[in-house]
């Protein structure tokens, strides 16, 4: 998306205030913002570099949160879990 105009209180993008735009960001990213609100927000984002940056920051935040940690299961924890599983399997066996 290109920022076409410098930020100011003018143009169609300012049917929505910056604060309203920021408040709608989560619904927008979830695809849960519909109809007029969505149109107004998109126009606002096209015209307001600050809210556009805010959107990019939220997207960056989501990416960092999902970026890690690539944690492996600690061997002791794995052994404990396997033990739980073994005991469960033993209990499952039909008694002869």
């Amino acid at each position: 998306m290109k920022i076409r105009r410098s930020w100011g209180r003018r143009g169609g993008g300012h049917e929505m205030t910056c604060q309203q735009a920021v408040n709608h960001i989560t619904a927008y990213l979830d695809g849960a913002l519909a109809g007029r609100d969505r149109d107004k927000l998109e126009r606002h984002l096209e015209e307001c570099p600050h809210c556009w940056e805010h959107l990019k920051q939220i997207e960056a935040t989501i990416r960092v949160a999902g970026a890690g940690p690539g944690d492996d299961l600690d061997p002791l924890a794995r052994e404990d879990l396997l033990e739980i599983y073994r005991r469960w399997r033993a209990d499952q066996r039909p008694v002869d």
Partner: protein, 173 residues
């Protein structure tokens, strides 16, 4: 097991503070899973079911160990109250999103985000952990936590707002 256990510990940590207790909760949840396997009807995904058990076990683990650090949180939230009364930016955001994306793999950023998550109010921490760390859909998260879609979105919004502010401090000290 390898795939879910670390996630389960992380989720438990949104309720209990110590890692040892979180590990116990996760382990206990597996016991519950095995016991309940017969009754699992496959109506929800296995993952949703696992996570719901973790939440329930964490709650019933008794002592609410988690101590929030509200001062820190409030301070972060205020940093985002950057609008005038008529709703325009008073302090527009400085530009750092691109820089964060460039440094995406920097362990310090990732660690900081996870630290902030543990400082969030419990519900916010649970929603953001499930949505953004684990990558679950909003519908799944609503089922696991038993909350409405609207409520889920408010919690997610607040959590992301605080994490965003913390990242900003990290990138633009």
């Amino acid at each position: 097991m390898d795939r879910y256990h670390p996630s389960m510990i992380r989720l438990a940590l949104t309720r209990v503070r110590s890692r040892a207790v979180a590990e116990e909760v996760a382990q206990d949840a597996w016991v519950g899973v095995l016991r309940g396997l017969d009754t699992f009807e496959g109506r929800s995904s296995l993952r949703s079911w696992l996570f719901r058990i973790v939440i329930n076990r964490a709650i019933s683990s008794g002592v609410r160990e988690r101590a929030h650090l509200p001062v820190h949180g409030d301070e972060l939230e205020h940093r985002d109250g950057r609008f005038s009364q008529d709703g325009w930016w008073v302090t527009p955001p400085t530009h750092w999103a691109d820089e964060v994306v460039d440094r995406l793999t920097a362990p310090s950023l990732v660690e900081r985000v996870h630290e902030v998550i543990t400082e969030l109010p419990e519900r916010q921490a649970q929603v953001v952990t499930l949505r953004d760390v684990e990558g679950l859909s909003s519908a799944e998260v609503c089922t696991i936590l038993g909350i409405s879609e609207g409520n889920q979105r408010v919690l997610l919004h607040r959590a992301r707002t605080r994490i965003r502010a913390a990242l900003e401090q990290e990138v633009m000290p």
